[in-house]
């Protein structure tokens, strides 16, 4: 059994990974999860200036990337299997999704580990992975309104964009985005959790920031890469499932069957990473010593 040793104040085996009686009640569990998610939504809704600044930045980068990719499409009018309209949709929705999945800039857990405040999270009757995930889903909900909509609405004002033609695509896109949020949360949680061992997470964070941006398909559609690079990347790493998959689903880059396969792969990665988060959390609690009281 995992033990949280709180040295010096006599608290013995209080730990979040041991299921407490309350968590066996499924309805109660959902209610708790919903309440935490709602509080996450409200918490991020207070950062209005930051949201406006973020939207402006995403919009500027939307213009930059869109022009570059359209120039790559050139006179031929298509590149990497995308036509001009598909590229425009890819870029502008991508700029919005960036904030919804929150690829960058989440250090809440690492900060709390460094300061020791994480001890308070471990004392709560909800598993830390669950409670942080709930908060993150609430945050993503707020971001979907304030960060995804503006670039999605701005893009079509200046560029011809591609609208999905198959009736199932919008629904599949929503599912794919939801999975991407959970998957991205899992990745961020793992990067942050290195603070249990390293204390200073700047290094892992930089590697994540760099890797995630380019390997998720933010800088250029990953379909620009040759297949011997692309296929292993997609199958063996979670990165393309973060952005490239939802965007490819939306612009209908592939036939419906391939779309479903890609979303299935995405789901597999999300489940695997959440499981890994719980495992890492348990290992961390086993070795962790919270100083003081």
């Amino acid at each position: 059994m995992a033990l949280l040793r709180m040295e010096g104040n006599g608290v013995g085996s209080v730990t979040a990974t041991v299921p407490l009686p309350t968590s066996t009640n499924v309805i109660l569990w959902f209610r708790t999860f919903g309440a935490i998610a709602a509080s996450g939504f409200r918490r991020y809704a207070t950062y209005r200036q930051a949201a406006v600044a973020g939207v402006v930045t995403n919009t500027v980068f939307g213009f930059l990337r869109c022009y570059v990719l359209l120039a790559a499409a050139g006179a031929a009018g298509s590149v990497g299997g995308y036509d001009r309209a598909q590229l425009a949709t890819f870029v502008w929705v991508g700029q919005g999704l960036l904030a919804v999945i929150l690829l960058w800039g989440w250090t809440d857990l690492a900060d709390r580990i460094r300061t020791g405040e994480v001890a308070a999270d471990l004392l709560r009757p909800v598993h830390p992975v669950t409670s942080y995930l709930a908060t993150d889903l609430g945050r993503a909900g707020w971001a979907a309104v304030t960060r995804l909509l503006p670039p999605v609405l701005t893009g079509p004002l200046f560029f011809d964009v591609y609208l999905p033609r198959r009736p199932a695509t919008p629904a599949l896109f929503v599912v794919s985005v939801l999975i991407a949020v959970v998957l991205c949360f899992g990745c961020r949680y793992l990067v942050n959790a290195t603070a249990y061992w390293l204390h200073d997470v700047r290094g892992p964070m930089i590697l994540w920031t760099l890797g995630a941006g380019v390997l998720a398909g933010l800088y250029f559609p990953l379909r620009f890469l040759p297949d011997p690079v692309l296929v292993p990347l997609w199958l063996l790493t979670p990165f393309p499932s973060l952005l490239q998959t939802p965007l490819d689903v939306l612009v209908e880059r592939d036939p419906a069957a391939t779309q479903l396969t890609l979303v299935g792969l995405q789901l597999g990665w999300a489940v695997a990473l959440l499981a890994l988060c719980r495992l890492v959390q348990r290992r961390a609690e086993r070795r962790m010593v919270v100083q003081g009281g």
Binding site: A71, L198, L207, L210
Partner: protein, 281 residues
């Protein structure tokens, strides 16, 4: 990005002269950055990675197209090299001014103002990111490789331009960093807003401006002056006429543009500091 709160700088001793005080600030910063050795090494590597991926992006895009906005890969790399070196160097020297919003929000800026040293040099030295040296060097390597492989017809004038243009571009980017940071005197949560011009400017200058179109190009290239960072100097180095029709001497205008930018940034900083009111926290 997770960056630890900077170590409290050594208190400035009024009897030892300003230089010693600045040196102490720099030393404290260097020591605190090297304290977590593994992270420091990863930082050094990671900072190269940022520019490496910028270059890689250009290479991947040229993997699927022959030319971009009428420019070949070799020609575009000169643009990329100028931009990468100038941005990385300006980011190393001045870039951490972008943390000003945090100092304003947390009230640390009050402490900076009461010390008997200039506010701007203090902020720059308090945080001088030693780890970004690797990136500036990599930017230089890209520039050297690019001009070496572009088949430039060297004249004394072009050699001089190759020295002057990158330095002017560093001054220009430094001015952009300072000018955009001053927004936080008025609007505290402005960090990302500044990014749209600083990092946006870096991305903009990584490609020939012919790639962009309409009012967006007019605004960034000539309204803000980013065309003079890399595009026009690259045209002059390559001996190419501007497809957009500007005369050839424009390639030499970058030092003048950089001076104007520095003047604007200095004015914005003065006005901003006068406008500053503590958040009271």
């Amino acid at each position: 990005m997770a960056e630890p709160v900077p170590a409290a700088p050594a208190p400035a001793d009024p009897w030892r002269g300003r230089l010693a005080a600045y040196r102490a600030l720099l030393g404290a910063q260097a020591r605190s950055q090297a304290a977590y050795r593994t992270s420091f090494v990863v930082d050094l590597v990671g900072n190269v990675g940022a520019t490496l991926f910028d270059v890689l992006t250009v290479l991947v895009i040229f993997g699927v197209t022959r030319e971009l906005g009428g420019f070949t890969l070799r020609e575009t790399l000169v643009v990329v090299g100028l931009s990468a070196f100038a941005f990385a160097t300006a980011d190393l020297l001045i870039g951490n001014i972008e943390r000003l919003p945090r100092y304003v929000r947390t009230g640390l800026f009050d402490a900076v103002l009461v010390r008997p040293l200039g506010a701007l040099p203090q902020l720059v030295l308090m945080d001088l990111p030693v780890r970004k040296v690797s990136r500036a060097l990599f930017g230089l390597a890209v520039l050297v490789f690019a001009v070496g492989s572009a088949g430039i017809d060297w004249t004394p004038g072009r050699v001089a331009l190759l020295v002057v243009a990158p330095l002017a571009a560093v001054v220009f980017f430094g001015s952009v960093f300072v000018a955009t940071a001053t927004i936080s005197f008025y609007w505290i949560d402005s960090a990302e807003l500044a990014n749209s011009v600083t990092y946006g400017g870096r991305d903009f200058t990584s490609y020939p401006v012919t790639v962009y179109g309409g009012w967006f190009r007019a605004l960034f290239a000539y309204g803000m002056g980013f065309a003079f960072v890399s595009y026009h100097p690259a045209l002059a180095l390559l001996g190419r006429a501007d497809p957009l029709g500007l005369p050839a001497w424009v390639g030499w205008a970058s030092p003048g543009v950089a001076l104007v930018a520095a003047g604007v940034a200095a004015a914005a900083w003065r006005v901003g500091i006068r406008h500053y009111r503590s958040t009271g926290s």
